[in-house]
């Protein structure tokens, strides 16, 4: 085992982990804090990828910039989805079985619609930072990984500040713990949850842009992320953003090692093993209570 291979694997894993943090942060909010099991989250990410692709291929606008522009639209979309979910399931107290089926249907329908519209070809974007690679000593830093990782960390830090410092952010954290208490403070928990869910879907727009920068995308790649994001979310301690980042980096490193030493075709299996071990050994997560 040579030193530079090892170091390169670690760095690649950290970069990958930064991207995974952006993919998971939405789930950490919706599943970890709001207890809404949004398994359709990867579908929204792929949707974000395709929007970045459409805008990039027609106008040549930078994919990550595009994602930032469409953030409000995704926010509103998330609010709409939560409203439907709330009225149809949460209010009736049926979210467990039927809510899951609802999100599963959403995941599936989005995928099928994308296939119908775009076909199953892989799509990719053009941007100045996709080709070049920085080299520090013998460590490779491909810019197409570095830029998403950097923006992703910014995103998570921004969200953490929002949650910890603003009134609405604190209300979101509170909704996770005690809805009754919020009502006593005359805050509408449903409104807070709607906002939080909107934020969680908005992060999917960015994550989608990162995804299509990192790799070509076709409608069904989203499914590979379901295992990963829930594994990270659970290991991160369900709704703790710092925990999410640490868990994402950890998974990134493990996957990168697997890919380096055993071959990339085994990488998808890693996340699942990761999830199972987490569930069996430490369901409260790394930073969980």
């Amino acid at each position: 085992m040579s030193m530079d291979l090892l170091l390169n694997a670690v760095v690649a894993g950290l970069l990958l982990g930064g991207f995974y943090a952006a993919v998971t942060v939405g789930i950490s909010i919706s599943f970890g804090m709001l207890d809404v099991v949004n398994i359709a989250h990867p579908a929204f990410i792929i949707l974000g990828s395709y929007i970045a692709y459409i805008v990039n291929s027609t106008t040549g606008l930078d994919p990550i910039l595009t994602a930032i522009v469409v953030l409000p639209a995704f926010y509103l979309l998330g609010q709409g989805v939560y409203q439907v979910f709330y009225l149809s399931f949460e209010k009736r107290g049926e979210e467990a079985l039927r809510g899951l089926a609802f999100f599963f249907g959403l995941l599936f329908v989005t995928e099928v619609v994308l296939i119908l519209v775009f076909g199953v070809d892989y799509r990719y974007v053009q941007a100045g930072y996709i080709g070049p690679t920085w080299r520090i000593g013998f460590v490779d830093l491909p810019l197409r990984m570095l830029v998403p990782c950097f923006v992703s960390i910014l995103l998570v830090v921004g969200l953490q500040l929002f949650l910890a410092r603003t009134f609405v952010g604190r209300a979101i954290m509170a909704v996770a713990q005690d809805q009754q208490a919020l009502r006593l403070l005359s805050i509408d928990p449903v409104r807070i949850k709607r906002i939080a869910f909107g934020v969680s879907i908005a992060t999917a727009a960015l994550a989608g842009a990162f995804l299509i920068v990192i790799q070509p995308v076709e409608p069904s790649v989203g499914r590979e992320f379901i295992g990963r994001i829930f594994a990270i979310c659970v290991l991160g301690g369900m709704g703790s953003l710092p925990g999410t980042v640490i868990a994402a980096m950890l998974l990134g490193i493990i996957e990168s090692f697997t890919a380096t030493y055993y071959g990339p075709s085994w990488a998808p299996a890693v996340a699942f093993g990761f999830l199972l071990i987490t569930l069996a050994v430490r369901p409260a997560g790394l930073l969980g209570r």
């Binding site: 099991v37 398994i39 439907v84 149809s88 399931f89 049926e94 467990a96 079985l97 039927r98 899951l100 089926a101 609802f102 599963f104 249907g105 959403l106 599936f108 329908v109 995928e111 099928v112 619609v113 296939i115 119908l116 069904s220 499914r223 590979e224 379901i226 295992g227 829930f230 594994a231 659970v234 075709s265 085994w266 998808p268 299996a269 996340a271 699942f272 093993g273 999830l275 199972l276 569930l279 069996a280 369901p283």
Partner: protein, 472 residues
């Protein structure tokens, strides 16, 4: 009905279906219906198996495809082993095992079931002690992982996919069957078995235990229900049945490869069918599977297999939002409100009209989508019109069953619109092909409109629209 009587009745129905399918295939020398029927039956088994865990216990399994493919790949592995047992086995075990190969299909199905059952047990053991959500997520991820394993497993030809040559004729008792007839028969038996098991569970202590888990797991645990053990039984049983449904697949299609076998359609269908049919009884998955399975066969032939998946996904979403009790539940609620003592002529007729509206509505939407895909402008207009009428039909069927005041009116409108469009169509095309079916449809529509205007029906809907909603 006692469950032994039920089994005999189900077997009799199965024998009838088989006789019909066989004679049709032999007379017309067209085996298409056997191939299509096999898929529908396969979905009956999958939906029933899913419902044992999902409907009775309330635990969502997104990994149907994983269990299904486990069964299929177990059979591929056995087949490969049977091809040249000497190469992989040696010494005494080889001498014992050699004469057994090639294994007969029923044994292979059993083997597939055992392997999937073990996978189910293991999955359940690791995740079922936690909240149900984790189990659901784990099953979702499991499909990806098992697929990765199979892709990297060279013995079953990995991502290249494995080809299997279907054997020739098989003799079952006095009958000499072609292999697809034989597979159809086996799947039919499997479907009967699955339904019998589901019904048996429903009426046993096991079923009551499952229901207590579904309704309130904490309370069940507190009153001494061994919840973990029951959940493990359900997962194992359900997984095993799914594996058995998948086992004949390699012989059915002659070639299987991981990405299709682990495909999402199996998972979606096996969730959608019970949800649309109704999750609380054995009849729900059966109705859902026959309905959706047949529709998908039609849609695959007429439009495309992607569009039919879209329809299934949309139906799933619509049903979980608008009619969470499913078709069986809707009918039960309707009967409770419209004919509390016992089903009478009026309620039966209305159910028949509503079912007709539902089926015609969905068929209308499928064919309209087909028309929309063509280039000619007039076909697009007809398609758009058809979509509208189809939606009208679906809404009417919902309104009729829910005893809404607008139900009969909407149904009359839908029938009227359909008659008009059928009339225009016939006038346009000169109406030679399928004319008798169209005349039949027009006759049904006119009869239904007349019936919906009778005083009896009006009274029913007037009474219930003013009364408070009927509690479930």
């Amino acid at each position: 009905m006692r469950s032994s009587t039920f089994l005999i009745a189900a077997l009799a129905v199965g024998a009838g279906v088989f006789a019909l399918a066989l004679s049709h295939a032999r007379i017309t020398t067209n085996q298409y219906y056997l191939f299509a029927g096999f898929v529908v039956l396969q979905y009956v088994v999958l939906a029933t198996a899913w419902n044992i865990l999902g409907g009775y216990c309330g635990y969502v399994n997104f990994g149907t495809a994983a269990f299904f493919a486990t069964g299929a790949y177990a059979v591929v592995a056995l087949h490969k082993l049977g091809d040249s047992p000497g190469r992989y086995l040696s010494g005494t075990p080889a001498e014992f095992l050699m004469p057994l190969f090639p294994l007969p299909m029923p044994l292979m199905i059993l083997a597939g079931g055992v392997v999937s059952g073990i996978v189910g047990l293991g999955m359940g053991y690791l995740t079922l002690r936690l909240r149900g959500v984790f189990f659901a997520i784990a099953t979702l991820a499991m499909a990806v992982v098992l697929q990765t394993l199979v892709i990297n497993w060279d013995f079953v030809d990995g991502s290249r996919g494995a080809s299997i040559i279907r054997p020739g004729r098989v003799s079952v008792g006095p009958l000499s069957l072609s292999y697809i007839e034989y597979l159809f028969l086996l799947m039919l038996l499997l479907a009967v078995l699955a339904l019998w098991i589901a019904r048996l569970i429903e009426r046993s202590r096991l079923g009551f235990g499952f229901a207590s888990i579904r309704d309130d797991e904490l309370a069940a645990e507190a009153s001494g229900v061994p919840t973990l053990r029951l959940k493990l039984i359900a997962t194992t049983l359900s997984g095993a049945l799914m594996g058995m449904a998948g086992a004949p697949l390699p012989y059915y299609s002659g070639y299987i490869e991981p990405s299709a076998t682990f495909g999402l359609p199996y998972a979606v269908n096996s969730i959608a069918m019970p949800m649309i049919g109704g999750t609380t009884t054995w009849a729900g998955p059966l109705i859902g599977a026959i309905l959706l399975g047949t529709l998908q066969q039609i849609a695959t032939v007429t439009i495309s297999s992607v569009v039919n998946l879209l329809i299934v996904g949309l139906l799933l979403i619509v049903f979980v939002i608008a009619a969470p009790v499913g078709i069986v539940g809707l009918i039960q609620e309707f009967l409770r409100a419209a004919a509390p003592t016992r089903p009478n002529l009026r309620s039966t007729a209305l159910i028949a009209i509503a079912s007709y509206c539902f089926i015609v509505g969905i068929l209308g939407i499928i064919f309209s989508l087909q028309a929309l895909q063509t280039a000619s402008a007039s076909a697009v207009w007809l398609g758009a019109l058809g979509l509208f009428v189809g939606a009208l039909y679906l809404a009417a069927s919902y309104g009729l069953l829910k005893l809404q005041a607008w139900g009969p009116l909407l149904a009359s409108l839908a029938f009227g619109a359909a008659t008009l469009s059928a009339g225009t169509n016939m006038a346009l095309e000169g109406a030679l092909q399928g004319a008798s079916m169209r005349w039949g449809a027009v006759a049904v529509a006119v009869a239904a409109i007349c019936y919906l205007q009778t005083r009896d029906v009006k009274l029913l809907y007037a009474r219930h629209s003013s009364a408070p909603p009927v509690p479930a």
